[in-house]
């Protein structure tokens, strides 16, 4: 399958229309950016001292975010208790920023 066909499939998945006459140009530019993304293939985790902390993996059960249910997990990765008290809760769910 050509890359143009791949881009058409992507358009379908993304609910986007790109006219046929522009698919080649769109595919070329998407291909150029994917070539940039391929730089990540050179990244080797073992070359770096990576500390994975809460910013990457937060092990919280969904129920811990519910005010109407008692949390079944209330410890972090180290076994310490964490407290999470969002200010704005509606019907037991956190209300995030609008839009």
């Amino acid at each position: 399958m050509s890359f143009e066909e791949d881009v058409k499939k992507l358009c379908d998945l993304s609910k986007l229309e790109i006219p046929d006459e522009m698919i080649m140009e769109a595919a070329k530019k998407v291909g150029d950016v994917l070539a940039l993304f391929s730089k990540l293939d050179e990244f080797r985790k073992s070359d770096y001292d990576i500390r994975i902390e809460n910013d990457l993996r937060v092990e919280k059960s969904y129920s811990s975010l519910r005010a109407d249910q008692s949390p079944d997990i209330n410890t972090d990765n180290n076994g310490d208790r964490f407290e999470f008290q969002p200010l704005n809760i509606k019907d037991g769910f956190i209300v995030g920023p609008r839009i």
Binding site: C11, K15, E17, P97
Partner: protein, 487 residues
């Protein structure tokens, strides 16, 4: 009186509070200024002049009655067109939202109005904040006040150009990968990206919500401080905000110098910038050496992967966030007759611009099951590694110093056809977004051809005060608030 537009906001507030000038007189001067210059700059999408005059009269009445007024009393603030202002169009510079009127105020707008600031209008930008030049707007490109054939930088190009061209003293932008600092550098104004979580994003139209942050632009650090104090703080409508309410202030030079600041210089990045920028920044560092800072070379080992990781994450979040623009939740009127849901959805989104479509496609691709580990998971690992490296650097140094942009402003249309070329220009600014740390761009000089460039400072999370302190020293030494082009 007619030259009041040249004055910084902090001076005008004093004049208004002391009765030397009324808020209405000042706003009238500003309206005249915008009307006489905006055809050349194209920084405004929506003008809110009637409301601004009404508000100014109300502030004058408060003063006449001896009531207390806020720290922004009578000051017009321009708002990037992706921040919601009740009753005003919120187009995000997109045809898709050309008729969308916001039904509520963003929290930052509520805060500004509480301090008696006046929302003067909505400012031009790259569509949905996706761009580095402010050329990708459905309302035409923003032009650089220093040379109208050149780009103003982006995506908050209207916010920077309006301040630089003395249309308004203060504006708000949003910064996802340098969108405040890049145009600040290209237009010779100050742009601050606060720490992620220190300013509410409630009411900001999300493009990449783990990276973006609302922040101020002004010509002097003395105007950045009051607007930053106004907009920062915890907000119950945005649970990513943090409950630290720092009160920022302008310290005396003696007080600033009483702490011997350690500055880490990213020399490799300085050397990789255009030669005039590299030379200009080295000269500024030499001048600052008299302040007895400790300057040291700092190194980042993982810089090569930053652009790829940033754009993978930003595209992934964009493809998710922009799915709401489907003509059902958000969009424009278009008859659904003859369409089933999916084709109606696709048809309606044909009004999105090419760059926006490209990022949605890329986001869909990198999140698809077969590629998730190759792109998205790896990008998040790179992000964590960059954050770790910065944390280590900021244990050693108070401030990290680097150029804001590697290039000077370039001609309109010159780079628009090459997305990768534009993405690579963001290398210096995306670091603060990937890490969440606060960062400021300060005017650092003017090239031989007459184009401004900026110096960028990054501090630890919630250490904006250190950025302000160094900016005060810069302003005292170089008086950059007087660098502007007369239109």
């Amino acid at each position: 009186m007619s030259q009041l537009f040249r004055q910084p906001a902090n001076v005008i507030v004093s004049k208004i509070k002391q009765g030397e000038v009324t808020a209405e007189e000042y706003i009238s001067v500003i309206i005249d200024r915008i009307n006489s210059t905006d055809a050349e700059i194209n920084s405004f999408i929506t003008k809110n002049f009637e409301h601004a005059l009404e508000r100014s009269k109300a502030i004058d009445k408060k003063i006449q009655k001896g009531q207390t007024t806020g720290i922004l009393a009578g000051i017009p603030v321009g708002i990037k067109d992706n921040i919601s202002v009740k009753g005003l169009k919120n187009t995000c510079a997109s045809k898709m939202l050309s008729d969308y009127v916001s039904p509520y105020n963003a929290t930052v707008i509520e805060n500004i109005e509480r301090e008696d600031g006046i929302i003067i209008g909505k400012l031009n930008m790259d569509e949905f904040g996706m761009g580095t030049t402010s050329e990708l707007s459905a309302y035409g490109p923003v032009k650089n006040p220093w040379n109208r054939d050149y780009v103003a930088g982006g995506s908050s190009g209207g916010s920077a150009a309006a301040v630089s061209s003395l249309q308004i003293p203060i504006s708000l932008g949003s910064d996802t990968g340098g969108s405040i600092r890049c145009p600040a550098s290209f237009c010779s104004v100050i742009g601050l990206k606060p720490t992620y979580g220190s300013v509410s994003r409630n009411g900001l139209v999300s493009y990449s919500n783990s990276l973006e942050q609302i922040g101020p632009i002004a010509r002097t650090i003395f105007d950045i401080v009051p607007i930053l104090n106004t907009i920062s703080g915890e907000d119950k409508m945005d649970n990513t905000t943090v409950g630290l309410k720092n009160s920022y202030r302008i310290k005396s030079i003696e007080e600033i110098l009483s702490n011997r600041l350690k500055v880490g210089i990213l020399s490799e990045l300085i050397q990789s910038a255009e030669s005039q920028i590299a030379r200009g920044i080295q000269e500024k560092i030499k001048v600052l050496e008299k302040f007895s800072f400790d300057f040291e070379d700092a190194k980042l080992s993982i810089i090569d992967f930053a652009v790829a990781a940033y754009y993978v994450i930003a595209s992934a979040e964009a493809s998710s966030n922009l799915s709401r623009f489907d003509n059902i939740r958000y969009g424009y009127y278009s008859s659904p007759e003859g369409y089933e849901w999916k084709s109606y959805f696709s048809k309606s989104r044909s009004l999105l611009g090419d760059e926006v479509k490209r990022r949605i496609l890329l986001g869909t691709y990198v999140l698809s099951a077969g590629y998730f580990g190759k792109y998205y998971a790896k990008a998040q690992l790179v992000r964590s590694t960059i954050k770790n490296e910065f944390e280590k650097l900021l244990q050693k140094y108070d401030i990290i110093l680097l150029p804001t942009m590697p290039v000077l402003p370039f001609k309109l249309g010159e780079r628009i056809s090459n997305p990768v070329d534009l993405y690579n220009l963001d290398l210096f600014t995306i670091l603060a977004n990937l890490t969440g740390f606060p960062s400021i761009s300060i005017p650092a000089g003017i090239s031989h051809e007459g184009f401004p460039f900026g110096i960028q400072l990054i501090a630890n999370a919630f250490d904006e005060q250190k950025l302000i302190d160094v900016a005060v020293l810069f302003e005292k030494e170089f008086d950059y608030k007087e660098w502007y082009k007369d239109l």
